[in-house]
C-alpha cells in the first residue's frame, strides 16, 4: 500500500502510480476551489465565451507575436549587454551594468509607464505593438544578459587554454569552443525566460495593447463574468507556457555533457 505513494529512487515510477497521485492532487485542488466558490455563492457559466471566439483568438495571436518578437529583440539586447558588461571600454561596461541593474531592480509596470508615456511620447513611438515589443525586450534583455554573463563566466579557463594549444585562432576558439558550450549552458535557461516573456507580456495591457489579457479584461467588463474570464485566461497562458517548460527540461537533459 505504501509503495503506491512513495518515490522509489531505484525504480522508474510506474504510470499507474503517477496517474493515481496526480489524480489525488487534482481532487484536492478542485475541492479547495469548489468549497471557496460555494462559500461565496458563485456558479460558473462559460457558454458566453463562444460569442467572443474571434476576439479571444486575435488576442491570443497578439500575445504569441508580441512574445516572439520580444524574444528575438531581447536576445539581441541581452547578448550585446553581456558582451558590453565584459568590455574593456569603461563607457560600455558601466552603461551595461547600470542598464541591467536598473531594469532588474525596478518593476516592469513602472518601466512600462515610464517608457511609454515619457520616452515613447518624446520619440514619437505611436504604434502600441512596437512600443510594447521594445519595452518588453528592454526588460527581458537585462535578464537574458545575466543568464549569458553567468554562462560566460562558467566557461573554464582550461578550455580556452586547450583551444590555444591545439592552434585555434581567436575566431575558431569562439566558433568551436565558446559558442557551443555557451549555447549548451544557456539554452535551457533561455527557454525558461521565453515563458517569462509570455507571462510578462500580459502587463502590456496597461498601455492598451490588445493582447490576450487586455482582450479578456474587455470581455469581462462587458459581460461581468470576471471569474470565468480570468480562469480561462489562465488556461490559455498555461497552453503556451507548459509546453515551453517541458521543452526547457528536455533541452537541459540533451545538452548536459558534464556527466
Amino acid at each position: 500500500m505504501k509503495q503506491l505513494f512513495v518515490l522509489d529512487d531505484k525504480k522508474r515510477t510506474s504510470p499507474i502510480k503517477v496517474l493515481l497521485n496526480v489524480l489525488l492532487v487534482c481532487i484536492l485542488l478542485v475541492a479547495v476551489f469548489w468549497l471557496s466558490l460555494s462559500a461565496i455563492n458563485v456558479t460558473f457559466d462559460f457558454s458566453f465565451l463562444g460569442n467572443f471566439q474571434v476576439r479571444i483568438w486575435q488576442g491570443f495571436l497578439m500575445t504569441v507575436f508580441l512574445s516572439l518578437a520580444s524574444l528575438i529583440l531581447s536576445l539581441i539586447v541581452g547578448v550585446l549587454s553581456a558582451v558590453g558588461q565584459n568590455s574593456k571600454i569603461l563607457f560600455f561596461r558601466y552603461l551595461c551594468n547600470i542598464y541591467v541593474g536598473f531594469i532588474r531592480g525596478t518593476p516592469l509596470i513602472m518601466q512600462i509607464y515610464l517608457f511609454f508615456y515619457i520616452v515613447g511620447t518624446a520619440w514619437g513611438i505611436e504604434n502600441r505593438f512596437i512600443a510594447g515589443v521594445i519595452i518588453l525586450s528592454v526588460f527581458e534583455g537585462a535578464y537574458i544578459a545575466e543568464i549569458i554573463r553567468g554562462s560566460l563566466l562558467s566557461i573554464d579557463d582550461s578550455q580556452l587554454e586547450a583551444a590555444k594549444a591545439v592552434g585555434f585562432t581567436k575566431m575558431q576558439t569562439t566558433r568551436y569552443v565558446i559558442l557551443p558550450q555557451l549555447v549548451a549552458r544557456t539554452l535551457p535557461a533561455l527557454t525558461g525566460q521565453f515563458a517569462s516573456i509570455i507571462k510578462d507580456s500580459s502587463l502590456l495591457s496597461m498601455i492598451a495593447v490588445i493582447e490576450l489579457t487586455q482582450t479578456m479584461r474587455e470581455i469581462s467588463a462587458t459581460t461581468f463574468k470576471l471569474f470565468e474570464c480570468y480562469l480561462f485566461l489562465g488556461i490559455l497562458y498555461l497552453c503556451l507556457t507548459l509546453p515551453i517548460s517541458f521543452i526547457s527540461k528536455r533541452l537541459e537533459g540533451a545538452f548536459n555533457y558534464e556527466n
Partner: protein, 245 residues
C-alpha cells in the same frame, strides 16, 4: 630538436617572480623537467609551448626565434602538441571530435582523412570503443590517452606534457606513461613535467631540475640521479624517497 633560452624571466602581475633568468642550450629528444611544486616547471613549459609570454628573455626552437606576436605564436603552436594535467579535452566534443576538429580546422585535413587518423590513434591507444564518448564519460586515464592522441595527431615537431599523470589514480598512471614511452621509441621528441621520478630517470634521456625559479641542475638522467650536485636536488630526492617501499 634544439632548444635555447637566454635570460628567460617570468613575473606575474602580482609581482611574483616565477622564473629568474634561465639560460639553456641543448639538442634534446626526451627531457623531463622535475622539481618541487611552485618551482616554475609548468610556467616554463607554457612558455615553450607559446601559451604565455615571458616577461623578458628569448627562446629559440631549432634556431628560430619564438615570436611575441599573437599571429606568429598561433602558427608556432600548430607545430606543437600539448597535453595538460587535466581538463584539456573539449568537454562538449566526443573523443573522436576532440581529435578531428583541430585536424580539420587547423591543419586542413579533409573529414575522411581526419577520421581515419583519429581511428588509427584511438585504436593504437586501446580506445576504439570509447571514440563516441564525451570526456565526462571517460576515466581519467582514458581522457589523458585521448589528450595524447589529439596532441600527436597532426604529427607535431615536439610534444609537451604538463604533469600528465599527476591527477590520475596510480593504476591509470602506468597506462599513460607506457604510451609516452612508446612514443619515444617511435622517435617523437617530448618534454615532460613530471613527479614520476622512475619515468624521468629511465625513460627520458635528459633531466632538468628546476627549483625556486632557477635551473639548478641539468644533464643526462642516468648521471643526474646518481650524482646530484646541489643541496636542493639532494633534499628533493631525499624527500621523495622517504616513503618509498
Amino acid at each position: 630538436m634544439k632548444i635555447e633560452f637566454y635570460g628567460l624571466v617570468k613575473q606575474f602581475d602580482d609581482d611574483r617572480v616565477i622564473l629568474k633568468s634561465i639560460d639553456f642550450c641543448d639538442d634534446i629528444h626526451t627531457l623531463a623537467i622535475i622539481g618541487p611544486s611552485g618551482g616554475g616547471k609548468s610556467t616554463l613549459l607554457r612558455i615553450i609551448g607559446g601559451l604565455i609570454l615571458p616577461t623578458a628573455g628569448e627562446i629559440y626552437v631549432d634556431g628560430e626565434k619564438v615570436s611575441a606576436d599573437e599571429n606568429e605564436l598561433q602558427k608556432y603552436r600548430k607545430n606543437i602538441g600539448y597535453v595538460f594535467q587535466q581538463g584539456g579535452l573539449f568537454r562538449h566534443m566526443t573523443a573522436i571530435e576532440n581529435i578531428t576538429v583541430p585536424l580539420i580546422k587547423v591543419h586542413g585535413y579533409s573529414k575522411e582523412q581526419a577520421e581515419e587518423r583519429a581511428g588509427e590513434l584511438l585504436g593504437r591507444f586501446g580506445l576504439l570503443e570509447e571514440g563516441h564518448k564525451r570526456p565526462a564519460a571517460l576515466s581519467g586515464g582514458q581522457q589523458q590517452r585521448v589528450a595524447i592522441a589529439r596532441a600527436i595527431a597532426a604529427k607535431p615537431k615536439m610534444l609537451l606534457l604538463d604533469e600528465p599523470t599527476s591527477a590520475l589514480d596510480p593504476e591509470y598512471t602506468t597506462e599513460v606513461l607506457d604510451i609516452i614511452h612508446e612514443l619515444k621509441q617511435q622517435g617523437i621528441d617530448f618534454i615532460i613535467v613530471t613527479h614520476e621520478m622512475g619515468f624521468a630517470r629511465h625513460a627520458c634521456d635528459k633531466v632538468a631540475f628546476l627549483c625556486d625559479g632557477q635551473l639548478m641542475e641539468y644533464g643526462e638522467s642516468s648521471r643526474l640521479f646518481n650524482q646530484p650536485e646541489t643541496e636542493q636536488f639532494r633534499t628533493f630526492l631525499g624527500k621523495l624517497l622517504e616513503w618509498n617501499v
